[in-house]
Symmetry: C2
Subunit: 206 residues, 2 copies
């Protein structure tokens, strides 16, 4: 199938918008993010380096955050997809869904992907900025906005704190029994925490 | 003032049990833990390397865990002291006390000590074992034992997950507003989570 994006690519005499374009963008993104940092890197500069139309970044990655997620952070799943999955469904089982979704993704790589994420965050200012945009703005803020709760950003950072800590103990420190407990057990224990951070009473900073 | 420990040290013709002895043990411990790993290193071997009596390890550090905490992990506070502080007092405000105690210690170094801890855990199997002994066995298990709750080890790992995640977001990723919120605000938000992990209903692994 030839997409309109591919036709556009050919019309302009650039690379076709297939897997080649996607890979070229990922390679170029790694270079430009490394050179310019997360804030400094622009979609335009990355597309230019890859020799493709800037529109291809939105087409394949939904924007700069998505491209960063899949190039530098090498996340296996598009953050926007996770956000939509989590935000749809019963608001009262939000915490349960979030814990299950993240553990399922992280468990699928034996925790290797989470550990790589922590190393990149501990080592690079760039990864921190990118992660903040992806996890907080793309995922948690979107969910918090849907719940209509106040203090959305504080709630989002609290959710992030519990999920990151769960990943640290499960995949990096490997403290038992948390490291080996099945996802049902983890969701029953940690789900209510995430639920409360999203929809429960959370006092504003004094 | 001359302590009985110092007199003992002099009697045996070894170094006096003052700051010199303490520093010699810390230096020797760093070497022996690095060479032998946490499990392999013995109090006897460390004392021998330092040229002091093995009893000095208990005298100054309360044992192998305490020596590891102050040599390799460079924790500013004796874990046993923290455990006693946390375990004493009203059981219903346990979560609040834990969050305040850890944030107070970690904030005092601007988060630098927490970040160093994460780096050491991410990089060294040794640090993971030591940290498990210190945080889980020395601190949280002691507290969980006092509450008399079932699933003590699972509860301890859940508490660790929330505290480690809080530290990651506050000191390493520095996500706002969590990174700048005062300790009262953090205790109100995160305290109930830690409280539930210690004393609330937590299902056993299925």
């Amino acid at each position: 199938m030839t997409t309109s994006a591919e036709q556009e690519g050919k019309r302009r005499g650039r690379r076709p918008a297939g897997a080649d374009t996607k890979n070229a963008l990922i390679e170029a993104a790694r270079e430009v993010f490394t050179e310019q940092g997360y804030e400094g890197a622009t979609v335009r500069a990355i597309a230019k380096r890859a020799g493709v139309d800037p529109a291809m970044v939105n087409h394949w990655f939904g924007g700069k955050e998505g491209l960063f997620a899949q190039s530098v952070l090498q996340l296996p799943v598009d953050p926007a997809v996770i956000a939509n999955e989590i935000a749809s469904g019963d608001i009262n089982t939000l915490g349960d869904r979030v814990v299950r979704r993240f553990l399922t993704v992280w468990d699928s790589t034996g925790g290797g992907q989470f550990a790589a994420l922590v190393r990149s965050v501990a080592g690079h200012e760039m990864a921190v900025h990118g992660l903040r945009d992806i996890f907080l703005k793309q995922i948690f803020m979107r969910v918090a906005a849907k719940t209509g709760a106040d203090n959305a950003m504080f709630r989002a950072t609290l959710v992030a704190s519990q999920l990151i800590g769960m990943g640290m103990v499960r995949y990096v420190a490997k403290f038992e029994p948390l490291a080996s407990n099945d996802i049902d057990t983890m969701a029953a224990a940690v789900g209510p925490t995430v639920q409360r951070y999203f929809t429960g009473e959370i006092a504003s900073p004094s």
